[in-house]
């Protein structure tokens, strides 16, 4: 990598780190893993920089590397640990109902399989179209749709949002697209 390319890469990193770190955090669920994942993903991007910087959407490339790296990484199996033990600390004793719901959703997010979780983050945090999510995850648009639908059902159930059971079923499921 020559000096000019390295500068361009550095500019990219400095400009996009914040956004990418947040995505990594939402995908992994904690800061340490997020930083680890982002650093690995950017290192892989660095190695491919000459190849991708002119031709590709670099953000999409980094997201793809991030998701692939994360879903292929070995996760330590936590013996005798139920998903609910992941429930994060409450934002505060006087948390509003909104905050409670956020916490519940966050805790429920921890119960999703990695790829499903990534699909939710890309779709609802990054607001990417389904086609782009499919490209990043390396699957079909139909798979993205069904993954996200199933994720929403799980999130609703696991977050304890049972007040309106009908709303728990996204259109895709009620249409029999499952």
């Amino acid at each position: 990598m020559d000096a000019e390319e390295r500068d361009a890469f550095r500019d990219y990193v400095l400009g996009r780190s914040r956004a990418l770190l947040r995505t990594a955090y939402l995908i992994t669920g904690n800061r340490t893993d997020a930083e680890d994942l982002l650093q690995t993903s950017l290192a892989k991007t660095y190695l491919a920089w000459g190849r991708i910087r002119e031709r590709e959407n670099v953000d999409a490339y980094v997201r793809r590397v991030m998701v692939n790296t994360h879903t292929s990484l070995w996760r330590r199996r936590k013996v005798d640990e139920s998903p609910m033990e992941f429930v994060p600390e409450r934002a505060g004793r006087d948390a509003t109902a909104d905050l409670d719901l956020h916490d519940a959703l966050w805790a429920a997010l921890e119960t999703l399989p990695k790829k499903m979780r990534a699909a939710v983050v890309l779709r609802y945090y990054e607001d990417l179209p389904e086609a782009e999510v499919a490209q990043i995850l390396g699957c079909s648009v139909g798979t993205v749709k069904s993954q996200v639908s199933r994720a929403l059902v799980k999130l609703r159930t696991n977050a304890g949002l049972t007040d309106d059971p009908r709303a728990a079923l996204p259109a895709a499921l009620t249409n029999g697209a499952h």
């Binding site: 947040r22 340490t32 893993d33």
Partner: protein
């Protein structure tokens, strides 16, 4: 658009919005890029051997007979589902001559990667050795197989006498280190001579010393040490100093260091089935390990299944830098599909493969087996730098997986 969608958006936003990255991430990114590139190069040079081996794979498996390693007895330090041994192997088996295999295949150029500042490892794939005969009859053969491809005429007989076994095979102690296999952190083991062979002494060596193999690493902060290691029943209580509690790594690596400690400690003290890790005040430290948390503070047994912790393929007979003779035993352990371990010996500067074949492990995945083969080098010259390689050929496409390598030199 359901209300849940909106709630989800706002919950994710709220979670992430305060996160700010470190100010200058470039140094860390470049360091990691060098590590990744080094591994890729190792894989690429291994890939040449794999490509050559494809022909040999087509040979009926029965011809592997000569490489079939005898089942090696295993010792019982492991938990019941783990088959492993922490004893160095080294007993000779019947010799299977492996014909030299010139590799006229030009190395495929990997995807263009930017040049990095760090020196590249010696295993970089380059040209074919000019000293090897370009015999058109040369074909990849494995384990003395007589497949459909013609073999080169009588191999020249090795002239050098057999040197004593490598220094790893007596009085050496098992020490586990952190490495990577297929992109995931895994434990690898080296047999090291230690001045103090008590469990505490072995653990101190693990923490303070560097692994011989540059592919492995030690993540312990400088100054980490073990204050004491005390056996009570089947629980070994290992007390660490303050420094050892202040490590930093991603959660996967951090928790693997706990396993590193547990596996090394239970190898050092065979009566110990579980290890309790405590700090200077005697309180358990695993639950809050290195700012990450790695389970509970209860005494820990070796993690099962072992393949979630151990590297799938491990060379145990040699350490990095060991001498090899013209004929030597290559052995190790593996958790691989159908128990088949691929191996080769290559010249580190030319990439030319001097010997290659398969070995059969005493058990196939998900069990861990031991494997062993006798390698006869033809035409090796004293001082020649070689690389021992062992890996699993992917069941899907034959690609190199789980590669372990050892840089060695021909004795003389």
């Amino acid at each position: 658009m359901s209300p849940l969608d909106d709630e989800l958006r706002s919950a994710l936003d709220a979670r992430a919005e305060h996160l700010v990255p470190r100010s200058d991430p470039m140094a860390g990114i470049e360091a990691r890029a060098r590590g990744i590139q080094r591994r890729r190069q190792a894989l690429t040079s291994g890939g040449v051997a794999a490509a050559v081996l494809v022909v040999a794979v087509a040979v009926p498996l029965a011809t592997r007979g000569d490489d079939r390693a005898p089942v090696v007895a295993v010792t019982g330090t492991a938990s019941p589902t783990v088959t492993t041994t922490d004893l160095p192997t080294g007993t000779p088996t019947p010799v299977s001559t492996v014909s030299p295999t010139p590799t006229p295949t030009p190395t495929p150029t990997p995807t263009p990667t930017p040049t990095l500042a760090s020196p590249t490892p010696a295993a970089s794939p380059t040209a074919v050795s000019p000293t090897r005969p370009a015999s058109p009859a040369a074909s990849p053969t494995a384990g003395g197989s007589t497949g459909p491809t013609p073999r080169p005429p009588a191999s020249p007989t090795p002239t050098r006498s057999v040197v004593p076994p490598p220094p790893t095979s007596g009085g050496a102690k098992a020490i586990y280190y952190v490495g990577e296999a297929n992109g995931a952190p895994r434990l690898y083991r080296e047999f090291r001579r230690v001045a103090d062979a008590s469990p505490a002494g072995i653990l101190r060596t693990m923490m303070s010393g560097k692994p011989l193999d540059p592919d492995y690493s030690s993540l312990w902060p400088a100054g980490s040490s073990v204050t004491s290691a005390t056996l009570s029943g089947d629980v070994l209580t290992v007390q660490l100093n303050d420094v050892a509690l202040r490590g930093s790594a991603g959660s996967e690596f951090a928790c693997l260091t706990v396993e590193q400690l547990v596996w090394t400690a239970t190898a050092a003290e065979p009566r110990a089935k579980r290890v309790r890790v405590v700090g200077p005040d005697g309180a358990g430290v695993v639950a809050e390990w290195w700012g990450v948390g790695c389970g509970s503070d209860e005494p820990m047994a070796r993690h099962t299944p072992s393949y979630e912790v151990l590297a799938p393929v491990q060379i145990s007979s040699h350490n990095h830098g060991d001498p090899v003779s013209a004929t030597f035993t290559l052995s190790g352990e593996a958790t691989v599909f159908e128990a088949v371990v691929s191996w080769s010996v290559a010249d580190r500067s030319t990439g030319a493969v001097l010997a290659e074949g398969f070995a059969t492990a005493s058990a196939g995945a998900p069990s861990r087996g031991t494997w062993k083969t006798v390698v006869t080098l033809t035409g090796g010259t004293a001082g020649q730098q070689l690389e021992l390689r062992a890996w699993e050929a992917s069941a899907q496409d034959g690609s190199v997986r789980s590669l372990d390598t050892k840089a060695v030199r021909v004795a003389g």
